[in-house]
């Protein structure tokens, strides 16, 4: 709802707008909430015309209530669950990342957040064959690690004679790849489905989301299909330079970003995975996710990763705990191995892998 303009409805003419502005009604909200009898008296406009304009504006700008049953039906058909590729994490998330929702991974440095993001991107691009938009703000994305994860996956599936070059896949650019093994070539197809954008401040990140919306609304033929998951690593790297201090612009920008993420997830039917840092509470010394209480309402699911303490703990072993979830009880924990995320050695030790 914004300023009253000529194009908003046919009966709204320029002179009507000028008359209304003369008595202080500038925006749609002002007109809709004003007492129309008084307005028609003050500007000498016909009451019927004003009522007609108001009706049209209300129809244009108001949202309609949904029947709960219809909403349920819609969600059943439009929600997809994307497996992250790490069986224990999928168990924690109730079989994976849900589209239409924002999921957050948080943890101290070197706890494996970037590895989880890479593993998810690899799994979605390879096993599910969908496009991934990876927004990197920390420089943690290394394509060779992605390739490693994909190769581990392809070697496993080669044994089961399953090839994942999907129809409609663009031919991978073979210039640098001649003479490589079959798993590497298949992995190359998946790598082309992962789109990487490097942003280092919040305005660049908002621009990237705008571009995503633009490309999807224009239905630009992105050869590998529509984006199904957006991975943002990390969101606190771009937001924390703005928070604190006396002015609240940083908070406003953070909430802009939050709103953008949630509406992207809901409107475009994609899953959003973000990573967040931790800070230490001053009094108790415990670790808690950064960006404060306002951000804690943004993701619908939160997972906390940390390294296993103790002398006998193997390197690469991490404990994931569920701290917020709309579906599972909080506090449940799973152990995961970040060195070989989701490959058969790990899957065989846990029952019921779903990918």
């Amino acid at each position: 709802m914004g300023v009253l303009r000529v194009g908003l409805c046919p009966a709204l003419t320029q002179e009507m707008i000028q008359l209304l502005r003369g008595i202080g009604i500038k925006t749609v909200v002002d007109l809709v909430s004003a007492d129309l009898e008084e307005v028609s008296r003050k500007c000498s406009l016909s009451y019927k015309a004003l009522v007609a304009v108001r009706r049209v504006l209300l129809v244009q700008f108001s949202s309609f209530p949904f029947n709960g049953a219809d909403l349920y039906e819609e969600l059943k058909t439009s929600t997809a669950i994307l497996a992250t590729g790490i069986a224990s994490l999928d168990k924690l998330l109730d079989s994976g990342l849900y589209t239409g929702e924002v999921t957050e991974i948080t943890g101290p440095p070197a706890s494996g957040k970037t590895q989880v993001c890479l593993c998810t991107a690899a799994s979605v691009a390879y096993s599910l064959g969908q496009s991934v938009l990876y927004i990197d703000s920390t420089g943690g994305l290394t394509a060779s690690r992605l390739l490693q994860l994909l190769q581990a996956r392809t070697e496993d599936e080669e044994e089961q004679k399953v090839f994942r070059v999907l129809p409609g896949d663009p031919k991978p650019c073979f210039q640098g790849l001649v003479g490589l093994s079959l798993p590497l070539l298949i992995g190359a197809g998946a790598l082309q489905r992962i789109h990487v954008v490097r942003v280092f401040d919040i305005f660049q990140m908002l621009d990237a989301f705008q571009d995503l919306r633009g490309s999807i609304s224009q239905q630009a033929t992105n050869a590998s299909g529509p984006v199904k998951i957006v991975v943002v690593d990390s969101v606190s790297a771009v937001v924390s330079p703005l928070l604190g201090g006396q002015h609240s612009e940083g908070l406003a920008l953070m909430m802009q970003l939050a709103r953008e993420l949630k509406t992207l997830a809901r409107e475009l039917g994609i899953a959003v995975l973000v990573t967040n840092h931790v800070t230490r509470e001053r009094e108790s010394g415990k670790l808690r996710p950064a960006l404060g209480r306002s951000w804690s309402f943004v993701p619908s699911t939160r997972v906390f990763l940390e390294a296993r303490e103790g002398p006998g703990a193997p390197a690469g072993c991490r404990v994931a705990s569920l701290t917020k979830s709309p579906r599972q009880p909080t506090g449940i924990q799973e152990v995961m191995e970040i060195g070989s995320c989701g490959t058969p050695e790990q899957n065989s030790s846990l029952e019921g892998s779903k990918s």
Binding site: R145, L206, G339
Partner: protein
């Protein structure tokens, strides 16, 4: 474009006035001329012009642009990134064990943090890297220049002279053993004078100077396009004392980290900074942890912790996006940063046996 005005980088005063005048999305502003906008909202003509420029730049009026470009120009697929990474070099440290655990050396386009107790060798490593970044490509280096931002005043030119001389001698030995002429040709430009003249040194006395210098670096990098390494020796020192407002410190540090990683990415160079250690007391025991707090731990992409184990120096790769956690021994000799058991190194770096094992056997022999 239905994009909210709050997501544009406008001045706060202007944004407040726009919102109070009833404008909420960019679409509404696109149709106005600057004079109309300034009259309606109550801002000056220059501000109105600037605002419209910002908004028009972000959302192109010509919608058909989207048909050809799927996502913005900075977008690339992971496959293209992989090809870029294959051709990217590493800056070697002359300690082959350390280079191995890091996947070849200090990587370009990433930020690396080196933490350690006083005297363990952080500044030595920084000076060694400022020399090593200049090694010609045929010897396995990146043939770049270095920028050194010094906040502690621990940069000793005489020591750099020692390191550079040892490096030049080492490369001459290698060139001597190969008969191809290209090695000799490359070494003609690689002398003590050229090494020293390609290290750009800046001394920053407090955090304001450091922030200002980092702010001015992009312009410097445009003039000196061969720079491949930025070293900040002592990023912790100016921020650790005299800071009452801790939230300001966090904000400044995070902003600094983002500026550095954005420079590393845009100009394809490596950024290194050194951090101090502080004591954390928990559960009746004290630990040495890197300084500047928990939130600073997330700033660097790669974290290397140097520490002592009785008389030996160890380096632990604590955080890396693509390498496993590992610890190796290293030594600092008169020639600089080296492996523990001095052995003639020759590029390409050959996979060495675990130096730890060797030193243990050496000790058992004694």
């Amino acid at each position: 474009m239905q994009r909210d005005l709050g997501s544009y980088p406008l001045a706060p005063g202007v944004r407040v006035k726009l919102v109070s005048a009833g404008f909420q999305t960019a679409e509404e502003l696109l149709e106005l001329k600057p004079s109309e906008l300034s009259r309606e909202v109550g801002i000056s003509k220059e501000e109105a012009l600037e605002t419209l420029q910002v908004i028009r730049r972000e959302c192109p009026v010509d919608m058909s642009k989207y048909a050809s470009v799927s996502i913005s120009g900075k977008n690339c697929t992971a496959l293209e990134l992989l090809e870029q990474e294959h051709t990217q070099g590493y800056i070697i440290t002359f300690c082959s064990a350390l280079d191995n655990i890091m996947g070849g050396g200090i990587p370009l386009t990433k930020t690396t943090e080196i933490c350690g107790a006083p005297g363990v060798g952080k500044t030595q490593l920084c000076m060694q890297l400022a020399v090593d970044v200049q090694i010609p490509e045929c010897f396995g280096g990146v043939a770049g220049e270095a920028i050194f931002l010094d906040t502690e005043g621990s940069f000793m030119v005489d020591r750099v002279v020692d390191l550079a001389t040892a490096c030049v001698q080492h490369l001459h030995l290698i060139a001597g053993s190969h008969s191809e002429g290209e090695y000799q040709k490359a070494l003609e430009n690689f002398s003590l004078e050229s090494i020293l003249s390609h290290i750009y040194y800046f001394r920053c006395h407090n955090y304001t100077e450091l922030l200002a210098q980092v702010h001015l670096l992009p312009d410097f990098l445009l003039e000196h396009s061969k720079v491949q390494l930025i070293v900040v020796d002592g990023i912790a020192f100016p921020f650790r004392h005299d800071f009452d407002d801790l939230s300001l410190r966090t904000r400044l540090l995070n902003g600094l980290a983002q500026q550095l990683i954005s420079m590393a990415n845009n100009h394809k160079l490596a950024v290194i900074w050194t951090n101090q250690m502080t004591t954390k007391i928990e559960k009746n025991q004290s630990l040495l942890v890197p300084a500047l707090g928990e939130s600073w731990g997330h700033a660097a992409t790669i974290r290397l912790i140097l520490h002592w184990d009785q008389k030996q120096r160890l380096a632990t790769l604590h955080k890396s996006p693509s390498q496993k956690e590992a610890t190796v021994l290293f030594d600092i000799t008169a020639q600089g940063f080296r492996d523990v058991v001095p052995s003639p190194l020759s590029p390409p770096v050959e996979p060495s046996a675990n130096p730890r094992k060797r030193s243990r056997e050496a000790r058992e022999e004694e």
